[in-house]
Symmetry: C3
Subunit: 205 residues, 3 copies
């Protein structure tokens, strides 16, 4: 599982940096930056753990996350002017992180013996609610509610995983396929500028 752990850490780093950048745009102080970074990286998994009763939540039991996040925050603040050169790498980590987090959430749901549709919801929460909580704390309407195919990628990837499980296929293949589908959809959506349709309501006067 060394590979997955590596991706997990890279994903955490990418989420942390995205939190730092947004907190700095909002001109928060150092504590604010640390909290927003933290929440972006572990908010989704924390909400998932609370909902299924998996407490104390995971980052309290495994210090890897806390250490990774704190180191990344220091690094990001020091090298903030250089970070723009890594924008593409960061986006890639972030996208890989989403794919992995989705499947991690689904696994936790299966361990709790929940239905597939609930597992997919848990996967999506794991991957995307860190960003939702970050946006709420920064007093913004969460960006994934407005203009990104992000959660949709998680949902489709998760559904694909459960579809594959209907066939005589090894679980590890289905798992990897789920991750790949999430990543592919997200990459394609960003590359092609695809967004979910807005569903406008006639303005009432």
């Amino acid at each position: 599982m060394l590979f997955y752990e590596l991706i997990d850490i890279l994903g955490t780093i990418a989420f942390t940096i995205s939190g730092v950048l947004i907190a700095m745009e909002k001109r928060l102080d150092l504590f604010g930056v640390v909290i927003i970074a933290f929440v972006t990286a572990i908010g989704g998994g924390t909400l998932r753990d609370l909902l299924i009763g998996n407490v104390p939540v995971v980052w309290m039991r495994d210090l890897t996350y806390v250490i990774t996040i704190l180191s990344t925050v220091v690094f990001a603040i020091v090298f903030v002017n250089q970070l723009k050169y890594f924008r593409k790498s960061l986006f890639l980590f972030d996208t890989i992180g989403i794919g992995l987090y989705t499947m991690v959430g689904i696994e936790k749901g299966l361990q709790a013996e929940l239905q597939p549709i609930i597992c997919i919801a848990l996967g999506t929460i794991t991957a995307s609610f860190g960003g939702v909580i970050r946006d709420i704390l920064c007093n913004e309407i969460p960006v994934i509610f407005r203009k990104e195919i992000y959660a949709t990628a998680c949902i489709v990837g998760g559904a694909f995983y459960f579809l594959l499980l209907q066939f005589p296929i090894q679980e590890a293949y289905a798992y990897s396929a789920g991750i790949l589908v999430v990543i592919t959809i997200r990459l394609l959506a960003v590359k092609l500028g695809i967004r979910l349709p807005n569903i406008y309501k006639e303005k009432s006067t």
Copy 2:
């Protein structure tokens, strides 16, 4: 309990539709609309279940809610222009839903052997915090903190239920009476335009 289940579903539908309408006013994308609808319908019960440790939370164990909400979202989006003709029916479902949700929350509190005042708080949370979370996600100060006798109806109805329990009266009657009091207060308040008093503070300069 068929009657209560029916009301529960009607309440869920009404809450879901209110979420869809508000999310569309905010011009969220499809995912945003689904999440806001979901949170409006099950946010209060979820917070209640988290606070008393009733996990995995109820909508994860009983798919009725998820299926009802998703179907309602599809329906509401398709028939959005027709919804205005059902405004009164929706308001009625919503009000009945509040009454029922209040007593459901109180029951859960009693099962957890909590004090009456805490049970009333749980009932109020069940009935009203879906809307609170919805408003936070939409970047608004929750509407029930500002201008509606909504939570107050839940509190009075819950208190009335516990008052009735002091008398030699069947629990089912007290339960139904609690629901009716919530509904009556809410209907009267809206019909008569009653609001809770604002308590103004002199403006500091």
Copy 3:
């Protein structure tokens, strides 16, 4: 423990009043004021209890908090015009409350056999997240993310406590020292007008 319980109640009162004042500035109605007061006073401890699985959360099991908060809200609304004369006392209670809440959170973390760094995080959450949730509900970016040495005081005090535990010193002394450090840093920071540095990012165009 009579002394600690007294401080606990004074801290709760101070937090409640700060919630009432902010809710009234936002011109919320009576229910809004009660909820914001409540959330300010018990939000941090509630989040802590949820994260470590200590449910039903503490204010549901011990009515002292609910009674203290409700009485304080009534008192604060009635005497709102006199409150300004007690601004200094309130600030003192608030600061003492933060010190105590920090150590209460740390104790809960130790009881759950968590690592020191996680315990410090729990102490900080206990002391400061009531204010964070209050600010979110009032649609503000939380004030402690922007301009106060508040959480920093909790973190330093908590770290000092664990440092002292490395030496052959009675736990009660270390506990009290932790509280005193939190209080001292907070008082000094406010008196001297110290803030955490903002870390500005070059504006992107």
